[in-house]
């Protein structure tokens, strides 16, 4: 019984897939007509007796030939009323293509608009920090009006913000619909009382190069060597000392440079595009893979419909071909490179207004194809604190 029911289900499903036609038969022998068709081997469904001598039924499109054969011997009228099933549905859809097109367009526009950043709310920051954070986010591509499919790497972003924006101790960015909510915590700034900053002291040892005193009494002279902690400008309780003392300070940097094998991108790349649905990934576009070793970069683009995340996302994986380059440098070139690296490392460490005045190589040792150097830097910077 169950088997038979399943069989009938299959027949009906086939009828839908291959398309069916509603036939209206009228005439004195209409009630005999389905039986004759049945004898020829046709499948009929929903045979309905409308009224005297009118019968309506559905039959698959592929059996229409049998209907025509029978209709030749039939004295009454045979009329095809309408088509049902998938082929007719498709045709109707193609006829009403404007509607279909508009719905697809609507979907894409909504997806596009859902990816747009309409507003960024920054909470917990003062005006200046907020401005800095907004500027930083803009540099990262998060600005009002931008269309962004890629998910924000929150951890990386918050690390960068902590590094680049002063006074920020915690930063979190959450996407809720088309609004990004940035929550910021600032470090509590210690109030500088006048008594604390009454005098200016040397923060480092050095030889004073230049003095600029806004208020206070100078306690050191140009060309003088000062130790760390020495008083430079004396102020009063009412008017704390203000000014800058530029001094020459010294730093020692150790660097090593060797003939390492460098990996460089050769310029060849392959873009693979996947559609990920749940945990599975389906290939949308996959060119031939690179023969040589390569590095891969992954980007995931999420699609939203209003605030709902669509269950599928687009994943692009770009493979960059890399080549090993054997650089054979002479000792002199290696030295130059070592000094350059040391200089860059110094610049990173120094405050913004500091300037490297000179450098001296204190020690140089060539060992096993590597150059080890100790370099002494002379730096001009403000030491008054």
């Amino acid at each position: 019984m169950f088997n038979l029911r399943r069989n009938r289900g299959n027949v009906l499903a086939n009828l839908f897939l291959s398309g069916a036609v509603t036939v209206v038969v009228s005439g004195p022998e209409a009630s005999l007509f389905p039986g004759r068709l049945h004898e020829c081997g046709a499948v009929l469904v929903h045979i309905h007796y409308e009224k005297e001598d009118i019968i309506r039924f559905q039959m698959p499109v592929r059996h229409l030939g049998l209907l025509r054969k029978e209709a030749r011997h039939f004295k009454g009228k045979v009329r095809l009323e309408k088509g049902t099933g998938l082929p007719f549905l498709l045709r109707r859809m193609i006829e009403n293509y404007t509607f279909l097109l508009c719905s697809i367009c609507f979907f894409f526009i909504i997806v596009l608009l859902s990816a747009m950043i309409i507003r960024i709310d920054v909470t917990g920051a003062d005006v200046q920090t907020e401005k800095q954070i907004r500027a930083f986010l803009k540099k990262e591509g998060i600005r009002e009006g931008a269309i962004r499919f890629e998910r924000v790497n929150e951890q990386e972003l918050s690390q960068n913000i902590l590094l680049h924006v002063p006074n920020v101790t915690r930063f979190s960015l959450k996407k809720s619909g088309v609004v990004y909510k940035a929550d910021v915590s600032l470090s509590k700034q210690q109030k500088e009382t006048a008594s604390d900053r009454r005098h200016l002291y040397a923060s480092k040892a050095g030889v004073i190069h230049d003095l600029f005193v806004e208020y206070g009494e100078t306690k050191a002279r140009r060309g003088e060597f000062v130790e760390k902690g020495e008083r430079l400008i004396k102020g009063s309780k009412k008017h704390p000392a203000r000014g800058t003392v530029t001094a020459e300070t010294w730093y020692k940097v150790t660097v090593t440079a060797g003939n390492d094998k460098l990996l460089t991108r050769s310029g060849k790349k392959r873009l693979n595009v996947y559609v990920s649905l749940g945990d599975k990934e389906y290939v949308l576009w996959k060119p031939s893979s690179l023969r040589k070793p390569f590095q891969s970069e992954e980007h995931r683009y999420e699609l939203h419909f209003f605030s709902y995340t669509l269950p599928f996302s687009i994943l692009t994986v770009t493979d960059y071909e890399v080549e090993k380059i054997n650089t054979v440098e002479t000792e002199e070139e290696m030295q130059r490179r070592a000094i350059q690296t040391a200089r860059t490392a110094m610049m990173m460490r120094l405050p913004e207004k500091a300037r490297i005045q000179g450098e001296n190589v204190l020690q140089k040792r060539v060992d096993n194809g590597k150059v080890k150097m100790i370099i002494h830097f002379q730096v001009l910077e403000n030491i008054a604190n």
């Binding site: 027949v11 389905p34 049945h38 499948v43 009929l44």
Partner: protein, 97 residues
Amino acid sequence: MRRRDGAAFISKLAGLPEDVTGHVPRMTIIGNKQILIHHPERLEQFTDQDVLIKLPEAKIRITGKLLEVKELMPSEIVVEGTITNVQFETKQGKCFG
């Protein structure tokens, strides 16, 4: 006919119901709403009050109200509606079901 007889004989020998092996008509009536007939020969006549189905050795006349042949397939006929009477008509005489 001969083939059918042979099949019936074998199934009888094996102790199986007759309809398992051969194309013997089988009828299933569900309440008074639906009748399924497997392996009919042809649909003779059809109106909304009277359906006549020919089987190899008999005819079935189904009478009722608002009858509708839901499916008419080579090996199966499904009749739906309010069934009031199912009647066998054999060559020898009439037999009421």
